[in-house]
Amino acid sequence: CISSCPSVCAAGSATCDPRHNNNNNNCTRCEPISLELCMNLPYNLTSYPNFLGHLSQRESSVSWESSLFPALVQTGCYQYLMFYACTLLVPKCDPVSLQRVPPCRSLCRSAKEKCESVLGIVGLQWPEDSDCSQFPEEGGNATCLLPEAGVEECSPSHFKCRSGRCVLASKRCDGHLDCDDHSDEENCGCSERALWECPGSNVCIKASMICDGIPDCPLLVDEANCSVCRDNELSCNNHQCVHRTLWCDGKKHCSDSSDEWNCVSLSDRSGSVLTVYRTAAEYQVCADEWSHELSELTCNQLGLGVPSSVAMVADQTGVPGRRRWLHVHPEWNLRNGSALQARLEKRSHACHSRRRVSLFCTREECGVRPAVGLFPHRRKR
């Protein structure tokens, strides 16, 4: 490298990108290590390209070797494999000479001798660019790296078993014994991992997941007792309180819109009588002024396709005034894009015809591949 870099190069200009073929392409510089895999090295500066030909830490992080070495570490084939891998992935940068410091040949040979055969078992090859003869012998003129006392055997994404073996951090406390001494399954309470334990089970969840409207614990206990609403209010799915008169009026009042969910259903034994849940009570829909467009809207809103048959069924209760009725709003057709419940209203009088709406829907065509015409008929050969 030229003894002093041009200022544009030192500032990390794109002109110094080693992929650009210009006069600055020999210019190297030290940069802090950001590759998570190698954050626990006895050095913290690196320079690129590395010994595997990667041009940046970003390229290293998505490289084949970044997946390969951590997987291989778990086999316990060589105590200092991760250290060796990191000397290739993020070579030490000498802050004075700005030169990469390679691993010593003996470190390379030990790693290869002990771990190459393990890779062979699953049909994979040792990284091609890591020919040991390219690295200097220890004690020679050139400086090289060997593991010192205190070098971590496991990468930060691994858990170190008491025995010294490395297993992936995700294997810790997963209910399976991965360490030979079972130490990965010790002290696995939720609190030890800064998580909340679902009452009645050993499932752990983040504190932020409690009372957030999405059930995560068995029996939904993380969503229980989350809101205290007044008598005239109902609890939204996300535990807000909304006045019961606003429930199912066609406008959302809960921020998660749960006050407008499941407002319309087809009930009764036949599964066809239109029922609307309004102001926290069930209503039948009076058939007076009902129209085909409203049948279409209902089936569509329920996700059931298109209406196949509509009937106006006589109310059988026999007790006048017992049934709660909703009526078609006189201006229902001006409320474009609204849900059915927004197009109905309560009136003081009962339903004149005493007939309620009964509706069957047919699922719209789906999942059908093109007709045979597109495909040649099967011909016996």
Binding site: Q74, S170, G250, K251, A339, G367, R369
Partner: protein, 241 residues
């Protein structure tokens, strides 16, 4: 798709391509209604603005859209609120198109599964997409037949990530037929009675697909999300603030 084959034109009329600016095809998607498509959440990482995207349907050759293709802008993107990019959990999003598609022999929606309806382990289903083939990216839509793998068996294949109930595994231990980069968001469909096809999975993640040694592909389990999908369509179609 690795180990697949070129599809016949129009064979999978619900398959769509999610495209963005100069990049062109970024992910697969699946038409579930005239104005609604599904894809995975990770396709939108760092680019969640609807303006950036368009959905192309009725496509076979990415380079030659042809007369049967239809293109729609995206009105809104609804990413699952629990999407976790670290473990790729809840990897699903609903896409609202600017306008309805015209239903033709080449553009048709697929069926969603009923709540609780899952494909049986060891049954055979199909994956489709314009993703990497191992040696190159294809121009023509590819299809591959994959075997459904039980959750417990799938959990034994993967060390790095946890297989959650929101995921579904399909493929082969040897990775002979598998989805790959660029197939994300595309469909895993199974044939039901009367020749009807149901969407059970969306291509989500897997091991390095080129290696062909590291197990099956992992798909978002659409059955788990059916109520959420229906709720989103309802909210965005009918509700006002």
């Amino acid at each position: 798709i690795l180990g697949g084959r070129v599809t016949r034109r129009g064979a999978w009329p619900w398959q769509c391509s999610l495209q963005s600016g100069q990049s062109g095809h970024v992910c697969g998607c699946v038409l579930i209604a005239r104005r609604w498509a599904l894809t995975v959440a990770h396709c939108f990482e760092g680019r969640e603005s609807a303006d950036l995207w368009k959905v192309v349907l009725g496509l076979n050759n990415l380079d030659h859209p042809g007369v049967h293709s239809q293109s729609r802008g995206v009105r809104s993107i609804i990413v699952h609120p629990r999407y976790n990019r670290a473990v790729v959990d809840y990897d699903i999003s609903v896409v609202q198109l600017e306008s309805e598609v015209e239903e033709t022999a080449f553009v048709r929606p697929v069926c969603l599964p009923q709540p609780g309806q899952l494909p049986s382990p060891d049954s055979y289903c199909y994956i489709t997409g314009w993703g990497h083939m191992g040696n190159r990216m294809p121009f023509k839509l590819q299809e591959g037949e994959v075997r459904i793998i039980s959750l417990s068996q799938c959990q034994s294949y993967f060390d790095m990530k946890t297989i959650t109930p929101r995921m579904l595994c399909a493929g082969y231990e040897a990775g002979t037929v598998d989805s790959c980069m660029g197939d994300s968001g595309g469909p895993l469909v199974c044939e039901e009675d009367a020749g009807r096809w149901t969407l059970f999975g969306l291509t989500s993640w897997g091991s390095v697909c080129f290696s062909k040694v590291l197990g099956p592909g992992v798909y978002s389990n659409v059955t788990h999300f059916t109520p959420w999908i229906q709720q989103q369509i309802y909210i965005h179609t009918y509700l006002t603030d």
